[in-house]
């Protein structure tokens, strides 16, 4: 662990003035910066500029005849008309969409956390000689397409699929259940299934790094296994838990495909579906842009939190 000390700014200043002599390396001033130029330019043109275009469309006007968006690139000509209209909609007609989205994401992330933490904890602490095998099995879904994994559930949950067959065979349900048309439980299951691999691995990496001596110290000082877990392991893993929650809830918030594939019904519409539907219908360009902007505003704090926490964990690793 590197300890950032108060001497750090001083040291940095020293390094700056005596760079060549102190390090014994004679890089020209632009040597390292030049490495970053291609990717930086790429991001400027294909990441920053597109985001700005979205803002220009969201605050732009609409072609009166073709109803297509007319982006306005100068901030001083921006109009909030489109934005206001969508915001009105969000508090009225589509309020339930926002509520659904939050409900599904919160429930799915919580389920993910309980399951992922249990699995990650087991592998990190008790994996033993099976650790490599377990990790390989946990990494496998990473390399399997999200679509394939959803397709698997479409096959299984179909009215003629195996789930219904087993349920009717065991006489648990009289008729096959139509799982795939607008059931929130199916959508939440799909979200958990789709995103949990992204949570297990970072949690595992975090739990694996917790010093076993700390746990032993807890036990030595008289705490039982449960108490050691709740007083030592859990508090130590809090940053890992928060980061893992953010890493699954960010894509869930923008998810529309899980919902489309496993439900496709307006009963389970999420924010991502609103965006995707607006993209799909003509004349709705500005609306899509406003929704993208709203989603970005909703997610900016978790995104910044995640970036800060990962930056810190890189420093202390």
């Amino acid at each position: 662990m590197s300890v950032p000390s108060e001497a750090e700014p001083v040291r940095r200043r020293l390094r700056r003035s005596h760079r060549a002599t102190e390090e014994g390396i004679h890089y020209s001033r632009w040597f390292w910066p030049s490495f970053t130029i291609p990717a930086s330019l790429w991001l400027a043109v294909l990441f920053i500029l597109p985001l700005y275009t979205v803002v220009s469309i969201a605050f732009g006007t609409v072609d009166p005849i073709f109803r297509g968006p007319l982006p306005v690139y100068e901030p001083w000509w921006w109009s909030g008309k489109q934005f206001g209209r969508v915001l009105d909609e969000s508090f009225g007609l589509y309020r339930h969409v926002y509520i659904h989205t939050f409900e599904y994401v919160v429930i799915a992330s919580a389920l993910c956390l309980v399951l992922a933490y249990t699995v990650a904890y087991y592998v990190a602490r008790y994996g033993g000689k099976r650790k490599t095998l377990l990790l390989a099995l946990l990494i496998a879904p990473f390399f399997i397409s999200y679509l394939m994994r959803m397709l698997a559930w479409i096959n299984l949950l179909d009215t003629e699929g195996y789930v219904n067959k087993i349920l009717t065979f065991l006489h648990l349900v009289p008729h096959p259940i139509d799982w795939l048309s607008g059931r929130p439980s199916t959508v939440i299951m799909g979200l958990v299934y789709g995103y949990i691999p992204y949570m297990i691995l970072p949690l595992y990496a975090f739990l694996d790094r917790i010093d076993a001596n700390l746990l032993e110290a807890g036990r030595d000082l008289g705490a039982g296994p449960a108490r050691t877990f709740f007083r030592v392991t859990l508090p130590l893993s809090r940053p890992g838990i928060l980061a893992a929650l953010v890493i699954v809830s960010l894509p869930m918030m923008g998810d529309y495909y899980t919902n489309n594939l496993l439900s496709g019904s307006p009963h389970t519409t999420m924010l991502g579906n609103l965006i995707d539907d607006a993209y799909g219908s003509t004349g709705q360009g500005p609306r899509a842009a406003v929704y993208v902007l709203i989603l970005m505003v909703l997610l900016i704090i978790p995104m910044l939190y995640y970036l800060r926490s990962t930056a810190r964990s890189l420093l202390t690793r």
Binding site: S40, V45, T53, L135, L147, G161, L201, G264, L307
Partner: protein
């Protein structure tokens, strides 16, 4: 059970330690590791069994998954019109998928590796700003990035037509952060000593990078290439928003379009094919990794890879 109670505490401990998994579980299902192990293996089964069934469906003779008649390659290539090989739409989608993934990999990996090198050694405000933007593009939900790119190509950068070129530009934007993150993690663990030693021995900065640093980065580079390939071949959000004519839709988009509408085992065959190509690329990357890291591996395995995510 009653016997062990009668024989007293010393002997009671022995059967508990020896009993099989099921017996131990019946005796006390809440004993910690047993409970955790059950959950873990149940999770693994839940995560992998649906996939094996989906793969099996592609080898099923019948169109519906309810009648099982396995080991037919009808949906792969035998069927003259509906199989993966002969359906013209699916056939061209396979080629488009491979084209997009390979091109994205070839562009994104060098861009990302160079950026990681530069950002690791060049400290300052501008550098950390560029790094921040890079990481922001990594955590940004794909729907936001995909639609913004769609807007920029339809309004501001109109000279890029929607289709393959727009898709590749978009995919590289989305993927370039993987090599950056993975290579930076590796650079942190390498440190500067090797390079400095090379330069003390008279190498120029360019030589020290090419002959010393780059070979040490090969594992990270191969890992990120495999991840970029796997992630690109699966991608359909960005690709779908940036696709122009139907011929520019790769397999992932076709699967998304067909999955609910007209499910057919050929779609499962398509998805299985994507899985297969990912495995091939991951295997090649792993073999290259082994070939290039002889002598510098330190018992590192999957655990090491997992910590990079």
């Amino acid at each position: 059970m009653s016997e062990s109670v009668l024989t007293g505490p010393q002997t009671r401990a022995i059967p508990r330690a020896r009993g099989g998994f099921v017996r131990r579980w019946v005796r006390n299902p809440w004993r910690r590791p047993t409970f955790l192990a059950t959950v873990t293996w149940a999770y693994i089964a839940w995560s992998l069994i649906p996939l094996t069934i989906a793969i099996a469906v592609s080898f099923n003779r019948s169109r519906s998954s309810s009648s099982v008649n396995l080991f037919s390659v009808q949906w792969w290539w035998t069927d003259p019109s509906d199989s993966l090989l002969h359906d013209p739409e699916l056939h061209s989608a396979v080629i488009q998928s491979l084209k997009l993934s390979l091109t994205t990999m070839v562009i994104a990996v060098p861009l990302g590796v160079a950026f990681a090198l530069g950002i690791d050694r060049w400290r300052g405000r501008v550098a950390s700003g560029a790094n921040f933007v890079m990481l922001l593009s990594f955590v940004m939900p794909e729907i936001i990035l995909g639609l913004s790119l769609f807007f920029v190509f339809s309004f501001l950068l109109k000279f890029v037509p929607l289709g393959s070129s727009a898709q590749i530009l978009g995919l590289v934007t989305f993927q370039v952060s993987y090599p950056v993150i993975i290579v930076r993690a590796r650079l942190l663990s390498i440190g500067k000593d090797y390079e400095e030693a090379a330069m003390d021995l008279g190498a120029t900065p360019q030589q020290s990078i090419r002959a010393v640093l780059l070979p040490m980065l090969y594992p990270a580079i191969f890992a990120s290439a495999a991840i970029v390939f796997a992630d690109t071949i699966d991608d359909f959000v960005t690709v779908r928003y940036l696709s122009g004519p139907a011929t520019s839709e790769p397999l992932s988009v076709k699967i998304y379009n067909f999955a609910r509408g007209q499910p057919s085992p050929a779609i499962n065959a398509a998805a299985t094919f994507m899985l297969g190509s990912t495995i091939v690329v991951a295997a090649v990357a792993y073999l290259l990794y082994r070939a290039f890291t002889k002598g510098q591996r330190s018992g590192a395995g999957l655990g090491d890879l997992a910590t990079q995510f």
